[in-house]
């Protein structure tokens, strides 16, 4: 189908659906279609899907969503509030019935907990749980309690009874910063805290909210959860490396690198590989999806990628300004190369020494042989 056909199809679809719940809610059809198109882009679908998404959104009874915060910094909540697609913050509040969210909900205390428990009881197996923050397991979970209950027990109750759980941010997905060595509180991600739960991981520190909306829309449109990689991340958002989509890649291939912050290469947008960029080992759609209304992303702004969508990145991707991690067992000052070069030199020296000794002994041996 060419572009014109797409447009026609969209227009036809649009006419079919006269007044919808959207309009009742005061969201203009134009805004709504714009949103659906943006979503189909985020999901890496052809534009023809926009009407399909629109239909899916229209038909559903707002699915219920509860948002739990555990060992978090609320960064993902804030990210959600910055969603960039048209009126997304508004639409999220409308597309879904957000029954529980500590940071934005009006109720507090018992009234808030009641809202949560009501959903778990009445919508068992139907609602979507979103979890932000890791769950501490050490010492019976005392390091994070909400309403006097431990995060672990809450997660088991709420995620265990959910249709699916979306773990937003690297903490909820893999334990994140609380789980960084030495993991003082025994923090883990949802999948490890609630064995058996259906979990979609949307790591990132914080996640890109477009990916969350896209996941929900994917589910509403296709009626199933998106395909994921071995780490439970949807392929539509985490299917390629940053390095393979990076706008600075031509400079990587050419061999043009930033050597110092603020040098000519830095100003001209050369590759940040030598400043410790972890784009080559990070799977995320940042270069394409970008942040805050597609304004920018870390490498675009001049700082290397730190690999925030990878499990354990706080340990494996640090030091952030060195390309390779430190060698375990050696201090920061010993990089792999110093150790390696040291080893090679030591070997050479040892054998040089060995050679000298054996040369000295040569005559003696030969003499011995002669005697034979």
């Amino acid at each position: 189908m060419d572009k014109k056909d797409n447009e026609q199809a969209a227009v036809a679809e649009e006419r079919q659906m006269r007044k919808t719940v959207w309009e009742e809610k005061g969201i203009s059809r134009r805004d709504f279609m714009k949103f659906c198109t943006a979503m189909s882009a985020a999901l890496a679908l052809p534009v023809t899907f926009a009407p399909k998404i629109a239909r899916a959104l229209d038909e559903v009874q707002r699915p219920t969503l509860v948002w739990l915060e555990f060992q978090d910094c609320a960064g993902n909540t804030e990210a959600l509030l910055r969603s960039s697609s048209p009126s997304v913050a508004e639409i999220i509040l409308d597309v879904l019935s957000l029954d529980y969210h500590e940071t934005i909900m009006a109720a507090a205390g018992h009234q808030a907990e009641d809202a949560l428990m009501k959903t778990v009881r009445e919508q068992k197996g139907k609602y979507i749980a979103v979890v932000e923050g890791s769950i501490p397991l050490k010492d019976d979970g005392i390091y994070c309690c909400v309403g006097g209950k431990s995060a672990r027990d809450l997660a088991r109750e709420v995620c265990g009874n959910a249709f699916a759980t979306i773990a937003v941010g690297t903490c909820a997905a893999y334990g994140g910063i609380p789980a960084a060595a030495p993991n003082p509180t025994g923090a883990v991600g949802v999948k490890d805290a609630v064995p058996g739960a259906t979990v979609i991981n949307l790591p990132g520190c914080p996640l890109n909210p477009d990916n969350l909306t896209a996941t929900v829309i994917h589910f509403l449109t296709f009626g199933k959860l998106p395909a994921t990689d071995s780490q439970g991340r949807p392929l539509f958002a985490y299917g390629k490396r940053i390095h393979d989509n990076c706008e600075r890649r031509p400079h990587f291939d050419a061999g043009q690198y930033v050597e110092q912050w603020g040098d000519m290469a830095h100003r001209r947008g050369h590759c940040l590989y030598k400043m410790g960029c972890k784009g080559p080992e990070t799977w995320h759609n940042c270069p394409i999806q970008r942040y805050n209304d597609k304004t920018s992303w870390p490498v675009g702004a001049g700082h290397g990628c730190v690999g925030c969508s990878e499990a354990n990145f706080w340990d494996t991707m640090t030091p952030f300004y060195k390309r390779l991690p430190n060698v375990p067992g050696f201090g920061i000052e010993y990089t792999a190369d110093q150790i390696g070069a040291g080893l090679a030199i030591a070997t050479a020296a040892a054998f040089a020494g060995h050679g000298v000794i054996s040369a000295l002994r040569r005559n003696k041996d030969t003499e011995g042989k002669k005697e034979e």
């Binding site: 804030e78 910055r82 508004e90 006097g148 912050w261 603020g262 702004a301 640090t318």
Partner: protein, 565 residues
Amino acid sequence: MAKIVIDPVTRIEGHLRIEAEVSGSSVADAWSSSTMFRGIERILQGRDPRDAWYFTQRLCGVCTTVHSIASIRSVENALGIRIPPNAELIRNLIMGIQNVQDHVIHFYHLHALDWVDITSALKADPARTAELAASLSDWPLNSPTYFKGVQAKLSAFVSRGRLGPFANAYWGHPAYKLPPEANLMATAHYLEALEWQKDVIRIHAILGSKNPHPQTFLVGGMAIAVDPDSQTALNANKLEEIRLLLGKAREFVEKVYIPDLLAVASFYKEWAGIGGGVGNYLCYGEFPADNSGKPEVLWIPRGIILNRDLSRLHPVEQDKITEYVDHSWYEGKPGTALHPWDGETDYKYTGPKPPYEYLNTDEKYSWVKAPRYADLPMEVGPLARCLVAYASGHKEVKPVVDLVLSKLQVGPEALFSTLGRTAARGIETLVIAQKLPQWLDALVANIKGGDLSIHNNEKWDPDTWPAEAKGFGWHEAPRGSLGHWIRIKDQKIANYQAVVPSTWLASPRDAKGQRGPYEAALQGTPLADPKRPLEILRTVHSFDPCLACAVHLLDPTGNETVKVV
């Protein structure tokens, strides 16, 4: 006496629990506790000090820049690094817009629902709402049609019976005083602010790659290159975009936020006599005019006010800051407070096993420590900054404070209250929103003069560092005075400690039993209906709690283990 518990306190960052004893129709005593702990300071030990900002940034996702700023400043202070003027200005822009955006979100999305009854907005007359709004400001969206649209949207939402985040609130509570029209106006602006904030914060994306958690901070400067002739650096195009967004920020603050604040405040004037708290105010000062690192160049001045005495401004001495753990879940010598550089605490939970009903508030009851300045609890935040600036006769702050006081027809003593705190936040937002374009002008002037430097490379390489160094980094975050203290040994972090605004504010009692600011402010709070303690939320929210930051820990004995898997 009846004890009531609010857990979770919602519309804040993090996990806060308030236990309050009620006598008659007011709060007799209160305990504030944080119920979440992550141990980030412990995690920092043994790591590269240049990485620290990225870790500490995750102390909080709401005030998302502040811990990175304090952290890089502490390392710069330890190593004696001076950053280039461009970097200083870029940081000012980032911090300034953070303040403005954060305060507006706080007012509309976290605090407003304590004063505004959304359900009552349905009864409002859109035409009269428009009249009301027009009488307050010349904001373009003040038409009856606009308010009618908002109301229709709201009623569609309510009529579907699923209130989502607005369910189960204290709607219809007798302490709500606004007429329906004011409620409708505030609700409309609640939605408007939601759109506005994500727009203006794009300044962070331009200068810092993204928000929350911008990623261009560096020890020694910034990673956003400046070059008018490059497509990838900060060029005229991007600077102009920032200017437009700053204009947008200022317009909203002047035409929507401040008028709303004054309108709402005028209905709740009795709150100028409630929720005063400890009466001591601390401000580290912020927005350096140059890179000398001296306190004199700070635009918002540094100082302390004791016992509500605005006639005397005391200097801030770094070594008088200490922390108690007598009522916090850490091990430590009872009755001794330690300076952040020397802290030797070890976390140990001794509270009840979950699920629990009440905490044992006579013993240890929180993950928050109790910081004290010269053994006194201190209130920090917009009110503290405003008071210090006011007392010092600040040429931009003082006139705005006077104007607000005269509009509300109250004297300066009204500032020491829940309402004062909420008003000071607005005053500060306005002053900063008006100041921001000047920093942008200065940046443009520098670039025009040919200065493209954004980073001081001298001490970037750890081999140039001394074997041991210690430093501290201070920053006035939206929520108040924030300090990071660092010790560096052999190019690694030996010790890290953050004393953050919410630690000052949510602090539990100290060894002498002195209450923390929340606890003190809650005493005497009237309660119309103890089952629905809306009034407690008002006072607690007026501090803008941010609990994730408040709880962290340090443990210098821990072995360093960096795992590579």
